[in-house]
């Protein structure tokens, strides 16, 4: 007699709507997309470099030293920085959403980006000389300040209400942005100019150091969050149910918030304020039926990376000899997306 279980393909049990495919297959298309995006993005910009030439340049067989410099020294760090920043912000969004059981949570709407921005500006304005670590540390402390403020206002059961959490996040965001603007106002004009462009988000200043910092943080944080995945998902059942299943709800949530704050802070320290990636990407991925961290996390990592690589391409090719800050583009898309979500909710 055949077991009744034979009727059900075990690989379909993870909640995905796409049947007859396993986890690796599901990731294959986005990974391929990422690979193509990286290669194409290396060729696109004020100087167009054909696809084949990009491949030669990556293998040290470039036809001209100028092309080699453009691909390897200018565009590669930039594309890599966009890749890891996009991946990190999307992962941060997904983790914030699952750990607060709130589909509108996002590092930007949570005030984490403003907090990290304030920390980084404070570091610049005070002219502290501690190197890259100092700037990252200040950004992290700023991010921590905003998370603490948001969570202490929207405490206990209140954050389950989407509106409470979002409104608290927006209020904290405004408060910290006001502090940042004040600091910029009183600081010397040149520094202010530099900081304003950075605040709007950019990967234009990418170099080996920034790529190393951001990639290491994003990869490490994502691995730790991946290991925490079942406990983070337990919070989707609601706090009381999770507790009755033996989950230390407070510890898991604090760990998830700390890790996402640290990751966002490092991204903000090097790339400035890039909003809404964490809101949009996990939402889009969930439409395909990926809800639990097990499938959500790898998918948002790859898709977030692809997204920001292309945003950066648009930023540098849309206006000749000029760059649009990344944050301007992501916020424009993100706010429209936010309105779309609200409209869907209402209807």
């Amino acid at each position: 007699m055949t077991s009744p279980f034979n009727k059900y393909d075990a690989s379909n049990l993870d909640g995905s709507k796409s049947k007859n495919s396993n986890k690796v297959q599901k990731l294959l298309l986005p990974l391929l997309l990422l690979l193509i995006s990286v290669t194409l993005a290396l060729g696109l910009g004020s100087v167009y470099i054909p696809f084949s030439e990009v491949l030669y340049c990556l293998t040290e067989q470039c036809s001209s030293p100028i092309n080699s410099m453009i691909v390897q020294d200018i565009r590669l760090p930039r594309v890599l920085l966009a890749l890891f920043a996009g991946a990190g912000l999307a992962v941060a969004g997904a983790v914030l959403q699952n750990s607060t059981n709130n589909s509108l949570a996002d590092p930007y709407l949570f005030g984490i980006v403003s907090g990290a921005g304030l920390g980084a500006i404070l570091y610049n304005v005070l002219n502290i000389q501690l190197g890259t670590i100092g700037m990252s540390l200040f950004a992290f402390l700023g991010a921590l300040l905003s998370v603490t403020l948001v969570m202490s206002v929207a405490i206990s059961k209140a954050y389950k209400k989407t509106e409470t959490l979002i409104l608290t996040g927006v209020a904290v965001s405004f408060m910290l942005a006001a502090a940042s603007q004040f600091l910029l106002y009183v600081s010397e004009p040149m520094a202010a100019n530099r900081i304003i462009f950075w605040l709007m988000g950019s990967v234009a200043f990418a170099n080996a150091e920034s790529v190393t910092w951001v990639s290491t943080t994003v990869i490490t944080s994502s691995i730790v969050l991946w290991l925490l995945r079942d406990n983070i998902d337990a919070l989707l059942l609601g706090d009381e149910q999770a507790k009755s299943l033996g989950v230390n709800v407070d510890l898991v949530r604090i760990l998830a918030l700390l890790i996402t704050s640290a990751m966002t802070a490092i991204i903000v320290a090097f790339c400035g304020g890039i909003g809404f990636v964490g809101l949009m990407i996990p939402h889009i991925i969930r439409w395909f039926g990926f809800v639990k961290m097990r499938q959500l996390l790898p998918m948002v990592f790859v898709v977030g990376a692809v997204f920001l690589i292309w945003v950066d391409v648009i930023a540098r090719v849309s206006i000749p000899n000029q760059e649009i800050p990344l944050g301007v583009i992501t916020s424009a898309c993100g706010s429209l997306f936010f309105l779309l979500i609200l409209k869907r909710r209402v209807s």
């Binding site: 909640g15 989707l236 059942l237 609601g238 009381e240 149910q241 009755s244 299943l245 033996g246 039926g289």
Partner: protein
């Protein structure tokens, strides 16, 4: 923490002078009970009597202001979260999930007590989930979002989770709420077949009479009566506690069957009668299916 040497005669729960107050209102007043294992025990009482609070106190979810709750001869508050979860499954009134978790994932969560902070489910967990879902006749719904199941199916899925959890004690808060009669009966049947102890709050006194081995009648935070349905479902006690007229008859199965109506002297009856029927007397009492919806 589960002690194999626990005797079958050891009480499952022992409550000793349990008091709890919230915002200076006494919710539970000096409750002392000793509950046997492997039985179905119903907690009954009017709205606001403290039924859910009593259940939560047993589960150690609330810190009582006085008295102790022992589970298997050990204070419930001393149990670690995971140890407790391996033995007791607490099923609240049906949760509405924010995200579309599948039935499989909702049931798989029952393995959480066996996982550490950085560990996750494995293939043997998958088999446990499938066999529990088969037992609860939900195998065909395994990939569906939990939120799309009917109330009865959701309750069965949560019981499947407690099987996966390995719990031998089920605490259920109004499990028959929002279920139609057929689903209520199916659920009670499932609970009867559960291999362990079941304690639940329940509104339907006839359902409680039929399926529960023992009943705890509480009112205003105090135990009015604890015992077998025949002792607890006494016309006078129910009339006083619920402020209704009650007649108790014996059902064909030998369990008490209750009929209710509002008393003639009830203030609500002094208003104009809705129809010109004869004054209600105990012989013509309407059988009222107790309404579960608060």
């Amino acid at each position: 923490m589960f002690d194999k040497s626990i005797l079958p005669t050891t009480p499952l729960f022992k409550l000793n002078g349990v008091c709890w107050n919230l915002a200076s209102k006494d919710i539970l007043k000096n409750i002392s009970l000793s509950l046997p294992r492997n039985k179905i025990i119903g907690i009954i009482g009017p709205n606001g009597a403290g039924k859910s609070s009593l259940l939560k106190a047993m589960h150690g979810q609330i810190k009582t202001s006085q008295g102790t709750v022992d589970f298997n001869d050990q204070p419930i508050l001393q149990y670690g979260l995971k140890d407790k979860a391996k033995q007791i499954a607490f099923i609240e009134q049906l949760p509405e999930l924010t995200f579309d978790l599948s039935v499989y994932d909702a049931v798989l969560a029952g393995r959480l007590p066996y996982q550490g902070l950085f560990s996750f489910s494995n293939s043997s967990d998958k088999n446990r989930v499938l066999s529990a879902l088969e037992k609860m006749e939900l195998l065909d719904k395994v990939s569906q979002p939990f939120n799309t199941l009917s109330g009865g199916e959701q309750q069965r899925a949560l019981i499947a989770r407690s099987l996966v959890q390995g719990a031998t004690t089920l605490l259920l808060d109004e499990p028959t709420n929002h279920l139609d009669i057929r689903h209520q009966l199916e659920l009670m049947q499932t609970l009867q077949e559960f291999d362990g102890s079941v304690i639940m709050t329940i509104h339907d006194l006839n359902m409680a009479s039929h399926y529960c081995d023992y009943l705890i009648l509480i009112n205003e935070g105090e135990v009015v009566k604890y015992g077998e349905p025949k002792e607890v479902l006494n016309a006078e006690l129910i009339s006083t506690t619920y402020k209704v007229e009650t007649v108790v008859k014996e059902s064909s199965l030998g369990t008490p069957y209750l009929y209710f109506c509002l008393a003639e002297s009830d203030p609500i009856n002094s208003a104009e009668p809705i129809n010109s029927a004869e004054p209600i007397n105990s012989a013509s009492l309407l059988t009222l299916q107790s309404n579960n919806n608060d």
